[in-house]
């Protein structure tokens, strides 16, 4: 029994328990001093592994948010400071943006498998010399809707739709969203298989790690305002392609 508790504590500290199991442990340790001690013991045993991790300076806004959330006159609940000044549309899009992902339980999609080489190139944070980027724009694990290809050397962006389907009476519009910038329209998608080609000239200060592509439902012909008006149906981020 003591061994089981200890293994539970060990897996908790490693981080391999599921969300439900973690919740259980967090409740249990408040009532079970032995479990609490076992957890602390594992924290101490494994902590030296963090020596391998390099410190990274956080952006100033993180401290600003912490300071604001912990200032004595504030209420108990944490307050989220806005990360950067953005338009309402951008905030709405960013809240619904989910990041590109492969199915984590196998790569049944031929497309996903062919992109596996892209996935396994690391590190996630940008190497210097990459000029080719890909975004697989999809919604929640289904077939990718769009493949966006960016070649910064040639200054070209091409977008190919694979499974995107506009609901009747609506268009799908593709947006390029740079960090802290308003969304920029790249045009409306036609039926499946259509391609948009654009130039990166208009992107200004291209920072690939921070770029998001999103597709929204708009009236036919696209947004009348020049900014997204409809819901986000697909989204994706750029990944560097090895050269």
């Amino acid at each position: 029994m003591a061994d089981e508790r200890d293994i539970l504590a060990g897996e908790y500290v490693l981080g391999t328990l599921s969300a439900a199991e973690r919740e259980g442990v967090e409740r249990l340790r408040a009532a079970d001093a032995a479990l609490d001690r076992a957890i602390v013991a594992w924290e101490k045993r494994l902590h030296p592994l963090t020596a391998a991790v390099h410190p990274v300076a956080p952006p100033a806004r993180v401290w600003a948010a912490i300071d604001a959330a912990t200032a004595p006159h504030q209420a108990a609940s944490a307050i989220r400071a806005p990360r950067r000044p953005v338009t309402d549309a951008t905030v709405a899009l960013r809240k619904r943006v989910t990041f590109w992902r492969l199915s984590t339980f196998g790569t049944g999609l031929a497309l996903a498998a062919s992109l596996a080489a892209v996935v396994t190139v690391g590190p996630w944070f940008q190497p210097k010399a990459t000029t080719q980027y890909v975004a697989v724009v999809n919604a929640g694990g289904e077939l990718p809707a769009l493949i966006v290809n960016v070649d910064t050397r040639a200054g070209q962006v091409s977008v190919r739709s694979v499974a995107a389907a506009a609901p009747s009476g609506k268009s799908l519009e593709l947006w390029y969203i740079g960090a802290g910038q308003r969304p920029r329209s790249m045009g409306t998608m036609g039926s499946t298989g259509s391609v948009i080609r654009a130039s990166t000239a208009g992107f200004g200060g291209f920072a690939p790690a921070e770029v998001v592509f999103a597709v929204t439902e708009e009236p036919p012909g696209g947004s009348p305002t020049g900014q997204p008006t409809g819901p986000v149906v697909y989204s994706g981020k750029l990944i560097p392609v090895p050269e």
Binding site: G10, R45, P55, I66
Partner: protein, 184 residues
């Protein structure tokens, strides 16, 4: 770069628990980058990592009064808060950014930054690495991938192309061997 003796961090943490805002700010400047590095490895995605760091230090502010230096070194305690927050966030996500292989990462690259060590760390590091070496290679891999990179059981199963049950066995045996070796 200021050196961070553990005494400093423990004192700062204790002062933070007493409501000292200056001590808290200094604690953040000393330990923030280290914790951010730890959290970035687990979260793999900057925006989430920043949110997690923020949430972690809010918790550190709130719970600093409960910190006992005799129970745990200060950075160990703080890193545990940060890691728990990061892992909680990762395990709650329904879709997770696929873990990216970090090519070319060798042991030689994993050099500790002296400014962020606790005085006990050198001995502890040697002991842990010696004991890790005594594990089977798969046991050692799953333990370090889980702890440092935040791999879930499913991601480990995917990476090693084994069922989750096998991964659990490797984890449990690895943990048991480590505990034994470290004299826990």
């Amino acid at each position: 770069m200021l050196s961070t003796g553990a005494t400093d961090l423990a004192e700062l943490l204790t002062a933070t628990g007493a409501g000292d805002r200056q001590a808290f700010a200094r604690l953040y400047s000393l330990a923030g980058p280290k914790l951010f590095g730890i959290v970035l490895r687990i979260c793999r995605q900057r925006q989430m990592a920043e949110d997690v760091l923020q949430e972690s230090f809010v918790k550190i502010w709130r719970f600093a009064a409960s910190y006992r230096p005799e129970a745990s070194p200060p950075l160990t305690w703080m890193a545990a808060v940060a890691r728990n927050t990061a892992i909680d966030g990762m395990r709650r996500k329904t879709e997770v950014l696929f873990a990216v292989d970090e090519e070319g990462r060798s042991e030689a690259e994993n050099i500790a930054d002296p400014a962020t060590l606790q005085p006990t760390d050198a001995l502890d590091m040697r002991a842990l690495h010696r004991c890790l070496d005594s594990l089977d290679v798969e046991q050692r891999s799953v333990v370090t991938l889980a702890y440092v990179d935040g791999y879930s059981r499913e991601e480990l199963a995917d990476r090693f192309e084994r069922p989750v049950g096998t991964i659990k066995t490797w984890l449990h045996r690895g943990l048991a061997k480590l505990k034994d070796c470290l004299g826990g």
